[in-house]
Symmetry: C2
Subunit: 250 residues, 2 copies
């Protein structure tokens, strides 16, 4: 089976309270990409968070002494931004050389708790990760179903760095309508030996593929993946998060 | 721009000494996927290593006392396999709960130095990573150019686990014909603020996308990515490897 990945242009600037699913549906139609059953709609976290009002005006933030101390250790962070990061943090995984790698409430491990200063509404505003990205993905899928009468899976993504490797890649934060993991265990290799370690993180791979056509800076915050066969399932990106107990790097 | 990802079926079982580039070219032709200029051919490491004779017969391996000790700490590893892993290892990054995460000679950080027991030639054989995956990628690209008179980029991939996240994803081990990193620094976001941290690991994202259609167990060890625009460049997957100095997790 082959699949294709299409950027979704013409998504307007998103503001708190916007019906993102409806706006994406319109943009898909304009791009001759009207949703089809089995499509996977990939949406970057930034527009989801904006629509959901997950933005903080830094003028309303008073940094704590700890936030000031952390900011002083880094070269480029506003203490108010550090305060916002800490409010989103359940645990600091690594604090070193100006970087702050943390675990967020829902369990994502990423730099700065995903708090983002670019592409926000203005210079004094930062964007948080969605509170529940699976719920966000489900809401978008439901809006598509109502408007276009089609069943699509939805993946909400963010762009993260990785240990050991340079460059950023998109990862799945929220998943609706498909299994995030594709479990091939029990199948046999070419010699008839059972595959032991073959659980593919298909939602992360789909997020990475979509990231190749999404350009947040150029106003392309979404992509459609068409032709990738998957089984319908509820979703739940938490399955992609390794529990602390089995993680060698926390 | 949209792109498509196509599995390459009908690649025969590969043996040491096989001309992999030629065999892939034949398989592409059979699949009506004759290479076009600008295609990206993604090939899994396993067939590259087999063609290059990067296989070890375990009957020729005598485990050292250290290898025996490590094997005793794990539940499922043959001491001879551990010996082979250690021979490919320049540094142990983490040795915990039966897992062995190491840095290989070329600088990849991965489990078991990429030494693989599945899909090998027989039960007594394991497969190593290619000695120089960039060179392997260049050889395949050169073979395609000679046979099909087309310029393609080639990415040699392997399937790795990741810290913090469940499931496996394909990564780029070797790159020929394109930049592994796409550097967008200096471009502006929607508000005119300069993007600071926007270097995309495009070769890793392309590897992940191709991994969605490659099924090593089902004899699909390669994929063609068509329509993804990139600038021709020499390549070099070492650019994807964070140097130890800047890595928080080594």
């Amino acid at each position: 089976m082959n699949f294709s990945v299409h950027p979704v242009p013409n998504v307007p600037m998103i503001h708190p309270g916007d019906d993102l699913g409806a706006l994406l549906c319109d943009a898909l139609g304009q791009a001759q990409l009207g949703p089809q059953n089995g499509d996977i709609l990939v949406v970057c976290q930034k527009v989801v968070s904006k629509a959901e009002g997950r933005v903080v005006n830094l003028n309303t933030v008073t940094p704590s002494p700890f936030a000031r101390q952390l900011a002083a250790m880094t070269t480029d962070k506003d203490p108010r931004v550090v305060e916002v990061i800490l409010a989103e943090t359940s645990r600091i995984v690594k604090m070193d050389r100006g970087h702050l790698i943390v675990e967020t409430g829902p369990g994502y491990v990423c730099a700065n708790a995903g708090v983002d200063e670019s592409n926000s509404l203005d210079d004094e505003t930062v964007i948080l990760l969605p509170k529940d990205s699976d719920a966000s993905a489900h809401r978008i899928a439901a809006a598509i179903k109502i408007r276009a009468k089609r069943e699509v899976a939805v993946i909400v993504t963010d762009t993260f760095g990785r240990p050991w490797r340079e460059g950023l890649v998109d990862f799945a934060l929220g998943v609706a309508g498909m299994e995030p993991l594709l479990d091939l265990r029990g199948q046999k290799d070419l010699n008839g030996r059972e595959l032991h370690h073959t659980v593919h993180a298909q939602a992360d791979a789909l997020a990475a593929a979509a990231g190749l056509v999404m350009r947040k800076g150029a106003g392309i915050p979404a992509a459609i993946i068409r032709g990738y066969a998957y089984q319908h399932a509820d979703g739940g990106a938490a399955k992609l998060l390794r529990s602390r107990e089995f993680d060698l790097f926390r």
